[in-house]
């Protein structure tokens, strides 16, 4: 048995260790600040492995509009330097890169839908790179289904003055495990709206980081999750404001039901000394539908300059509002239906961020079906 010296946590988020080499990261023991809520055993090989050899989920898509291409390439210069072990493991093991490119000034009318379908097998690594050219305006949907044990990185570069709506849906089979890092690099006067949906899988842990490369960048991170009995969904963000006059908004909402349903939200926003004129707000709300479910919610703001437009955070976790139920039931609406209305209403603002009606409806229906399962 070896005893390891306790590694002092970095005093600021900007000092976190970054490396492409998995060996540079200490082995995970679950006591690390970044991993303390994650049931490591359920991450399977992703915890201890130094290389992953399984087959990454298969990339599928229909006809692509003009100006949009999807192809498999060997190499792309990274915009993410991993800052946790699993992310570095994914980098080192990924066999290639799925490169999704949107040409400068392209404005496809229809959303581009790409599916990643897990076919099971050994633990795998994946890498996706999204490159949105300057002045392009596009909606990208990434649907993740099937079964897998996956560590993957998604790097997204939003060119100057481009506008990207990026919807990712993790609706894996019940036995799937995923640890994912999504990195958004926002150009000058560019705008990214990221909607991250987690519904299916045994354990899904998604870390989203944001950086800006020019003034006027705007990032909105929206999250929607619904954890059933036994599911662990974890969402962490690091929004790094190092450039003046940029904006960020983080809004995550989750519902939980059933024994040992667990969700984690940790929102870190860092405003560096140079980032004057920053405007940021982060909020997490959780709705606990039954006994036995646990929601962790931790907002963190680190501010190195006072010259900002605004910075705030909020977190609220609660049970069903009895007064809302009473009001609806007093109008004759049966309890089950009243609960559905309240939950759908709770998620409505987030669903409305998804500019694809078919997907919006499907997710709304999936949420209602979840409620029907337990009769909650």
């Amino acid at each position: 048995m070896t005893t390891e010296a306790t590694i002092a946590p970095p005093s600021t988020k900007s000092q976190v260790l970054r490396s492409f080499d998995v060996a540079e990261f200490p082995a995970l023991n679950g006591l690390e600040e970044e991993w303390r809520f994650t049931p490591l055993k359920r991450l399977r090989e992703l915890v201890r492995a130094t290389a992953l050899t399984g087959t990454a989920p298969q990339v599928e898509h229909g006809d692509l509009p003009a100006g949009v291409s999807v192809r498999s390439v060997e190499k792309v210069d990274p915009v993410l330097t991993p800052f946790d072990r699993v992310s570095a493991l994914a980098f080192g093991s990924a066999a290639g890169v799925t490169l999704i490119e949107v040409a400068p000034e392209a404005e496809p009318e229809q959303a581009v839908v790409i599916r990643l379908v897990g076919k099971g097998g050994e633990a795998a690594a994946g890498r996706t790179f999204v490159k949105v050219g300057a002045f392009a305006k596009v909606t990208l949907v990434l649907e993740q289904t099937g079964t897998t044990t996956l560590a993957d990185n998604i790097e997204v570069v939003v060119g100057d003055s481009a506008q990207l709506t990026f919807v990712t849906v993790a609706d894996w089979d019940a036995d799937a495990v995923q640890a994912q890092h999504v990195k958004l690099r926002i150009g000058k006067d560019a705008r990214a709206v990221h909607v991250q949906v987690a519904l299916g899988g045994d354990l899904v842990r998604q870390f989203t980081s944001v950086e800006y490369t020019g003034r006027g960048g705007d990032a909105e991170l929206w999250g929607l999750y619904f954890a059933d009995a036994g599911q662990h969904f974890e969402h962490r963000q690091l929004v790094d404001h190092s450039v003046p006059d940029c904006r960020s908004y983080v809004g995550y909402r989750g519902a939980l039901q059933g024994v040992s349903a667990q969700t984690v939200w940790v929102g870190d926003v860092l405003i560096r000394a140079a980032a004057t004129g920053t405007d940021t707000y982060e909020i997490n709300r959780n709705l606990i539908l039954t006994d036995g479910a646990v929601a962790h919610s931790v907002p963190n703001l680190e501010i190195e300059t006072g010259e900002i437009v605004g910075a705030g955070h909020a977190s609220a976790t609660g049970r069903f509002d009895e007064e809302q139920l009473f009001y609806l039931m007093a109008r004759g609406i049966p309890e089950g239906e009243a609960r559905k209305l309240v939950v759908r209403g709770f998620f409505a603002e987030l669903l409305n961020k998804i500019p694809v009606e078919e997907l919006r409806e499907r997710l709304g229906d999936a949420i209602e079906a979840r409620l029907a399962e337990t009769g909650a």
Binding site: D321, E322, E323, Q324, F326, Y327, L328, M329, A330, R331, G332, I333, P334, E335, E337, A338, L341, V342, R344, G345, F346, F347, A348, E349
Partner: protein
């Protein structure tokens, strides 16, 4: 023709610690279709407790007595069953329901009350007319239920529901509170339209006599310390207007 019968109703409020605090000390009241009753009393006399316990709010526990609607035991019913049986409560502080539009809410409620979805052909028109009658902007239908509504808008929305859902018995809890004179007039006109149908029994709960200048009650009940202490016709309201509740409250002490 419907009858709401309240007999010797005793109700306690459940305190957070689990204790029960008695509020209603034996209330007797009979309301029939087409009748308008005013329940008047000082603050804290238990008027709202009467309203909410009849509607079935979980905060209250019935410790004695009966409430029947056309002979059916209301107290055995869940909140939604009471509403479907024909009871309606216009609330003093209507609750916000984020993410649920007024149009969706009303259609869901109407479907539940009638037992079938309203005809698509006529529903939109009915809704528009109901909103016009209460001078509500059509854009209201797309707003979230009670979210960001002014006090007056909330009350108009309550009365619009009263008109759309057509209950057998309606309890209006302090509908006049917080209304300016124009809003009070609009809301009162809505209540009077319901009254004129003769199909609904109305129970107006109020502290002030102001609303009774617009909605003339057939019967007035003075409510003090959890029970009715005096009953009469509209003249009793005028007497209260002049004298206030001091006489009753004083007599109690």
């Amino acid at each position: 023709m419907s009858t709401l019968e309240i007999r010797d109703l005793q109700v306690s409020v459940k305190l957070p610690e689990g204790d029960l605090k008695p509020i209603l000390a034996g209330v007797d009241l009979t309301v029939k279709s087409g009748e308008t009753h005013a329940i008047m009393g000082p603050n804290g006399s238990g008027k709202s407790t009467l309203a909410y316990s009849i509607a079935g709010h979980p905060k209250y526990e019935i410790t004695g007595g009966t409430v029947t609607l056309d002979g059916d035991n209301v107290l055995d019913m869940t909140v939604d069953e009471r509403a479907r049986a024909g009871l309606f409560l216009a609330m003093q502080y209507p609750v916000e329901v984020p993410g649920v539009s007024v149009a969706n809410f009303l259609r869901t409620a109407k479907t539940a009350i009638d037992g079938e979805a309203p005809k698509l052909r006529t529903w939109a028109g009915d809704l528009r007319k109901a909103m016009e009658k209460l001078q509500m902007d059509p854009a209201f239908a797309q707003r979230n239920v009670n979210e960001g509504f002014s006090g007056g808008e909330k009350k108009r929305h309550e009365i619009m529901q009263l008109e759309l859902l057509k209950p057998k018995m309606a309890i209006l809890d302090e509908t006049d509170s917080g209304l300016d004179i124009d809003a009070l007039r609009v809301v009162s006109e809505g209540v009077n339209r319901v009254r004129e149908t003769g199909d609904t029994g109305l129970l107006l709960i109020t502290h002030y006599t102001r609303i009774l200048r617009y909605i003339k009650p057939d019967f007035v009940h003075v409510f003090v310390a959890g029970k009715i202490v005096q009953e009469g016709g509209p003249e009793l309201a005028e007497q209260l207007e002049a004298e206030g509740y001091e006489r009753y409250v004083g007599a109690r002490v």
